[in-house]
């Protein structure tokens, strides 16, 4: 009898700890459920405006929010080459794309070369460069836009493709530099020296050893440049070509339609197509990433 009691005591204790563990697990599960519910609700809210636009791309009402029957008019007119709105939208898309590609490419080349050069500078000069590089990052876009505009006006230069590209480069270069810099810091300097010792030419050592080493930084700098440039409004509005005055990017075009009583219905179908493309790219990127992870 006594033995049993003695045996029982730790058992009971164990059961109790088991029970409290189970309770704790239940609590954890409830917590996880609440946390993820919150996140998903926020996600739905984030996507609500876009979904609303997409929904109304399947009706041809002038105003979003009025349903005039299911049809593909928004899409049909978007791909009708005689439609004035469609022409404007595709023109603006083309402008947005080439400005982003040209400006980001130039920024990436100039910024990467800059970052490599800065890496070998003395402490003081490097600090000066870093400070100057920080300016456009912390500065307000409107101040940069105004200051560039004043500069071009003072030099008597017309606003054209050059001013626009310079504007977008000012916006994006610092981000290339700050993305390349950490990769340069991580780089093994002896690797580069070894290449030189083994008889590689200067440019050979640079392009075959250093550049591949810092490639991830260069790539993310380029991607951030593209993202910033594609979405830009303020600098574009201030530096875009003024002669002929019908140069628009997507941002400035859509903004200019805001003052109309009814914005073009084709913006809805256009956004839907862009959204689907982005989602597809995201899915593809995730799949490729997962495969890579599995291989490793």
């Amino acid at each position: 009898m006594e033995k049993e009691v003695v045996m029982n005591a730790p058992n009971q204790e164990m059961e109790e700890t088991n029970r409290s563990l189970m309770r704790r697990e239940k609590g954890e599960k409830a917590k996880k459920f609440t946390a993820l519910t919150f996140v998903w609700i926020m996600l739905i809210v984030m996507y609500l405006p876009i979904m609303y636009l997409i929904l109304f791309s399947f009706t041809d009402a002038d105003v979003i929010g009025e349903w005039q029957g299911f049809n593909f008019d928004c899409y049909a007119t978007l791909f009708n080459s005689n439609n004035a709105n469609a022409k404007d939208i595709w023109g603006a898309t083309w402008n947005t794309a080439w400005v982003a590609i040209v400006a980001s490419t130039l920024s990436t080349v100039l910024g990467t070369a800059g970052a490599i050069g800065m890496h070998f500078l003395g402490k003081k000069l490097k600090a000066v460069f870093n400070f100057a590089n920080e300016i456009p990052i912390v500065n307000a876009e409107i101040v940069m836009a105004l200051s560039l505009c004043i500069l071009f006006g003072l030099l008597g230069l017309p606003k054209n493709a050059f001013s626009l590209i310079v504007g977008h480069m000012v916006l994006t270069i610092p981000f290339v530099v700050i993305n390349v810099q950490p990769k340069l810091e991580q780089m093994d300097p002896s690797l580069y020296e070894a290449a030189m010792d083994l008889g590689a030419s200067r440019s050979g050592a640079l392009f075959k050893v250093m550049v591949p080493d810092i490639m991830p930084g260069i790539f993310s700098g380029f991607m951030i440049s593209m993202t910033l440039s594609l979405d830009d409004y303020v600098i574009t509005e201030f530096t875009k070509p003024s002669e002929g005055s019908d140069f628009q990017t997507i941002s400035t075009y859509v903004q200019s339609t805001l003052s109309r009583s009814t914005p073009p219905i084709q913006i809805r179908s256009f956004t839907t197509i862009i959204f689907v493309l982005i989602v597809l790219v995201m899915i593809g990127y995730t799949i490729v990433n997962n495969r890579k992870a599995k291989k490793i």
Partner: protein
């Protein structure tokens, strides 16, 4: 011996030439970033006709009737920026915490989903937001502040989530567990360990939202029925539509002063962190 000497001398030469790679960028920085800012100061502090030093441009904005508009613009800008920043951080903080907590979320895709709307043009998203708000009975013309703040928070939320998420990934889990084991209540754990550890994230989330909102006048223009004017919008009005270069420069100088203040503020916090 001779060979190694020339080799090392070669290396020295190479180091020298590598430095010159930053020359083109240096020229670009001076010409298109530093010089334009100096020009803004020049135009803000000189007379348009004579080019002599004057505070007249400031006086023109801060004296008499025009001072009402000036203070209204600055006040509205600071109000929109402060409200947007605070609300963004309050919403982004729990989202970032949940996304970064491996107990709850192991899926990076969820983080991507929060960033994905950023790739849809922000002017288009603003139009969509406006229409949706009207659908919910919130007319921008009648509720300019509520609508503008919703639009701003919607636009800047991903920018607040990202830095917070990055700091939360690096949270020292053992410290949190230690606090809990030593008898701290969940509220104490939160305010005494988690919040102090995430201060750098909070500060960078704040700087990612506070200053940029003042340039995002497209959002307030669309969502306030043009009743709220931000400094950015005022600069555009004065420069592109009014050709008042000097007054626009004064506004830009005011903005630069605000930016300077926020940089000092940010550095104060990172120094405190360093002292710890």
């Amino acid at each position: 011996m001779e060979a190694t000497k020339t080799l090392s001398r070669n290396k020295g030469v190479v180091r020298e030439t590598r430095k010159w790679l930053c020359m083109p960028y240096g020229v670009f920085l001076i010409l298109f970033i530093i010089l334009p800012i100096l020009l803004i100061f020049y135009y803000a502090f000189t007379d348009a006709r004579t080019g002599a030093f004057t505070l007249g441009n400031f006086a023109a904005l801060f004296e008499g009737d025009s001072s009402v508009t000036t203070f209204k613009v600055i006040g509205q800008s600071l109000g929109v920026a402060a409200l947007t920043t605070v609300i963004c951080i309050l919403i982004a903080y729990p989202i970032a915490y949940i996304l970064a907590n491996s107990k709850w979320n192991k899926n990076i895709v969820l983080v991507y989903l929060f960033l994905l709307p950023m790739w849809i043009n922000f002017v288009i998203r603003t139009i969509a937001t406006k229409q949706l708000l009207i659908f919910f009975g919130l007319d921008p013309a009648l509720h300019p502040w509520v609508c503008s703040i919703i639009g701003m928070v919607y636009n800047y939320l991903p920018f607040a989530i990202l830095p917070l998420y990055n700091t939360m990934l690096k949270l020292d889990k053992s410290q949190i567990e230690a606090a809990a084991d030593l008898g701290a209540s969940p509220v104490q754990v939160f305010f005494k360990t988690i919040v102090p550890m995430t201060v750098p994230g909070i500060v960078s989330a704040a700087t990612m939202t506070f200053m940029p909102t003042m340039s995002s006048y497209v959002i307030t223009d669309a969502l306030s029925g043009r009743t709220i004017t931000l400094i950015g919008g005022q600069i555009e009005n004065m420069f592109l539509n009014g050709a008042q270069q000097d007054l626009a420069s004064v506004y830009a100088v005011i903005m630069l002063a605000l930016i300077g203040l926020s940089v000092v503020f940010e550095n104060l916090f990172s120094e405190k962190k360093g002292a710890r």
